[in-house]
């Protein structure tokens, strides 16, 4: 669903990612690791078309990103759920409205969706904070809300950047369980994380692959975990 082909990227200085190829197929569950500053966030941004590669190709749902116009990118993004590393919300809307925002923007606010929203709020443990405004949330609550917003549209691909950086281990396991269930429904999932415990827990449940960015290249890791 997302293919990178001989992709390179730099922010104007030296090359950050070099000659990387990857394919994210339906039903795949990938972790992305690497030291801080290695380029994990950059990698994800390339996948959801916030950045355009300096060399090589990115194909999203079969379309070459370079050839997509801005509306095309918007359409493709509706099929990709993203959890940003520093999750941002519309500060004047309640959390429930924020989580439902992708539905509102896409004009899909039927009763079925409202039902899903309720369930999702319970799953991420935010049912009691549904009416709060984003600045009133704790760090972990924000991260959970961001994950809920990413999956509300039932997207084909979920890209999450450090989704458990601010939550405790119990909550991390709950969030992982949500992602695993979505994965079993056929969604492709790519998670950037530092949390080795999370990776271990996932590997015990499903067939997760671990990619590692090191020295500008993408390596397969996993055996050592």
């Amino acid at each position: 669903m997302i293919e990178l082909e001989n992709l390179s990227y730099n922010y104007g200085g030296g090359e950050l990612l070099s000659n990387i190829s990857m394919e994210l197929r339906p039903g795949a569950f990938h972790f992305l690791t690497g030291p801080s500053g290695a380029g994990k966030t950059t990698f994800l941004k390339l996948c959801y078309m916030e950045l355009i590669p300096t060399a090589g190709q990115v194909r999203v749902f079969g379309e070459n990103v370079r050839e997509m116009d801005r509306d095309g990118i918007a359409r493709a993004r509706r099929r990709i759920g993203v959890v940003h590393q520093n999750c941002q919300f519309l500060d004047h809307l309640t959390m429930a409205e924020n989580i439902a925002l992708p539905l509102a923007v896409a004009g899909r606010m039927g009763p079925q969706e409202m039902q899903n929203l309720e369930e999702l709020l319970v799953w991420v443990g935010l049912e009691h904070r549904a009416g709060a405004l984003p600045p009133e949330l704790s760090g972990g609550e924000r991260q959970r809300a961001a994950l809920a917003r990413a999956v509300i549209m039932s997207p084909d691909v979920i890209l999450a950047d450090e989704p458990t950086g601010n939550v405790d281990w119990e909550m991390s396991k709950k969030l992982l369980a949500l992602l695993v269930e979505l994965n079993r429904m056929g969604k492709a999932i790519l998670i950037a994380t530092h949390d080795l415990n999370l990776i271990r827990a996932a590997k015990s449940q499903i067939n997760a692959r671990v990619l590692r960015i090191a020295g500008r290249h993408l390596q397969m890791a996993g055996a050592e975990l």
Partner: protein, 297 residues
């Protein structure tokens, strides 16, 4: 979700995604109001000055006299000659030789009543009425000097012409101010829109992330800013019209300018100001928003 709040928002979620208030909002509203207020005054000034110029010009047109002082025997000939000149002068509506009674009435203030005018070698007077556009007084003078040497054109309203010019200038100044004010309003609204977009960079990036199209984002901002500019301009216009309506009325006798204001259908003109503000705001915001979105990649 989106079901409380105004109207039926699930149909128009773009109405809710932009924060409802904020200083840029007040700023747009207030600058539109202030500009509209000033524009009403400029408009009133233009109209009043225009009316004043009109009136002065009319008075000017009614007040020329030709006096023929010559030996008594030559007077009838010269009067005829002068009349002939006047007939062929463009811009003269009519000319008429005053009769004795009229001339007596004119002289009375100077000489007192009961004067034996018949015994006096009085000059003959011709009253000249010009057309609204006026006539070439200098040319007329030269032609009179040639045809009727005793004829003297007393353009006694001539000194008023600068006043008419002044009034016309004032009218132009009013329109110039309106143009300036409109440009300023456009610039202020554009910058306010850009400030709002910059302040809402987070809103925009969130909307982008969840797959909102540019048109959706732009519509949200444009709608809000246009409404705000129209509302502000309407308030400012209303306040300006009220202020002008409340200006102390000095009556027609006091000259048009002292009665600065609108007459009759003139009161409809200021109502165009909010429409103009809305038009300016719509395009200013739209262009600013699309440019801003393009820059954000």
């Amino acid at each position: 979700m989106f079901s409380e709040g105004r109207g039926s928002p699930s149909a128009n979620p773009e109405q809710r995604v932009v924060p409802p208030t904020g200083f840029t909002a007040h700023l747009t509203f207030l600058s539109a109001a202030a500009m509209a207020f000033l524009a009403v005054f400029a408009l009133a000034l233009s109209f009043s000055a225009g009316r004043l110029a009109e009136r002065w010009a009319t008075e000017l047109a009614l007040s020329a006299t030709i006096r023929i002082s010559a030996p008594q025997s030559q007077i009838p000939d010269q009067a005829r000659a002068a009349m002939k000149v006047l007939e062929t002068t463009p811009g003269i509506a009519s000319a008429r030789v005053l009769d004795k009674a009229e001339q007596e009435a004119l002289l009375e203030p100077w000489l007192g009543p009961g004067l034996p005018l018949d015994a006096l070698p009085l000059p003959r007077l011709i009253e000249v009425i010009a057309e609204p556009g006026g006539y070439d007084a200098e040319g007329l003078r030269q032609r009179l000097a040639a045809e009727a040497p005793g004829a003297v054109l007393d353009d006694h309203a001539r000194w008023r012409r600068p006043l008419v010019n002044a009034a016309r200038r004032l009218e132009q100044l009013g329109w110039l101010s309106i143009i300036l004010i409109t440009l300023t309003m456009g610039a202020v609204i554009t910058l306010a829109a850009q400030a709002a977009l910059a302040a809402n960079a987070q809103v925009i990036s969130v909307l982008r992330l969840i797959g909102a199209k540019d048109a959706f984002i732009v519509a949200a901002f444009v709608r809000r800013f246009t409404l705000r500019a129209v509302a502000g301009a309407a308030l400012g216009t209303g306040a300006g019209m009220l202020a002008i309506a409340l200006l102390p009325e000095t009556g027609e006798a006091g000259g048009v300018l002292t009665g600065l204001g609108f007459h009759g259908a003139g009161w409809l003109w200021p109502l165009a100001i909010p429409l103009l503000a809305g038009f300016v705001a719509f395009w200013a915001t739209r262009l600013a928003a699309f440019r801003c979105l393009k820059e954000l990649t």
